[in-house]
């Protein structure tokens, strides 16, 4: 079946702009995670959804970052007033149950000029 998909694959924006990154999890997966990976580092946890609710958003770096999952499937990560330091690979993962193996999408490469 289809894996986790993320759009766009690449996003270039200017400092101060607003961006939205989309994640389509594997069908039927109730748990969804967002991670951010900077160059030369491993992925860092941002936020976890169980169903429609954000069960843990402790990894979001500041209030410019927000994520939603209104119908318990597709999720959107929203970044306001982007800064150059936001440039990174943004990865989404889903799992059938919270403790099951997480399957990752290919990521969205965000570049803030």
């Amino acid at each position: 079946g289809a894996g986790v998909s993320q759009t766009p694959s690449n996003k270039v924006t200017e400092k101060g702009k607003y961006v939205e990154l989309r994640c389509d999890p594997i069908s039927g997966h109730t748990a969804l995670y967002w991670y951010r990976q900077s160059l030369g580092q491993g992925p860092e946890f941002l936020i976890y959804f169980q169903g429609t609710g954000a069960a843990d958003d402790s990894g979001l770096p500041n209030d410019r970052f927000f994520a939603v999952r209104p119908e318990g499937s597709v999720s959107t990560l929203k970044i306001q007033r982007t800064e150059r330091g936001d440039s990174a690979m943004y990865l989404c993962a889903s799992s059938g149950r919270p403790v099951d193996t997480q399957y990752f999408g290919p990521g969205t490469r965000l570049t803030v000029l």
Binding site: A31, P43, A55, P98, V99
Partner: protein, 116 residues
């Protein structure tokens, strides 16, 4: 505060030989450990995992060893193949305590190159 560390940024191995990738952790609440492999332009792919109640788990050419007292785990690949060349990430989670939903804490990754 790097709770999961992979101290070797890169490893080069000859085809057919053993590759050993190492990982150390500091958080004693971690009770489930995973290895992911990542090719360029792709997301991480799950490889193998181990629960803290075990000290070894095998899956084909891949074996993960866990030494809880030393807070150390390693991934052995035998025999190594050129297609194994990728970045390998060690990850840990706390299923029994702390967060029960499998939030992953990753190491920095090790670039494995297997030469023909």
């Amino acid at each position: 505060d790097q709770q999961v560390k992979q101290n070797s940024p890169s490893l080069s191995v000859q085809e057919g030989r053993i590759s050993i990738l190492n990982c150390d952790y500091t958080n004693s609440m971690f009770d489930y450990f995973l290895w992911y492999k990542k090719y360029p332009a792709e997301g991480p792919t799950f490889l193998i995992s181990i629960s803290s109640i075990k000290d070894k788990n095998e899956d084909g050419r891949f074996t993960v060893f866990l030494n809880k007292s030393a807070k150390h785990l390693s991934l052995h690949i035998v025999p190594s193949q050129p297609g194994d060349s990728a970045v390998y990430f060690c990850a840990a989670s706390s299923l029994a305590g702390g967060t029960s939903y499998g939030k992953l804490t990753f190491g920095q990754g090790t670039i494995l190159t297997v030469h023909p």
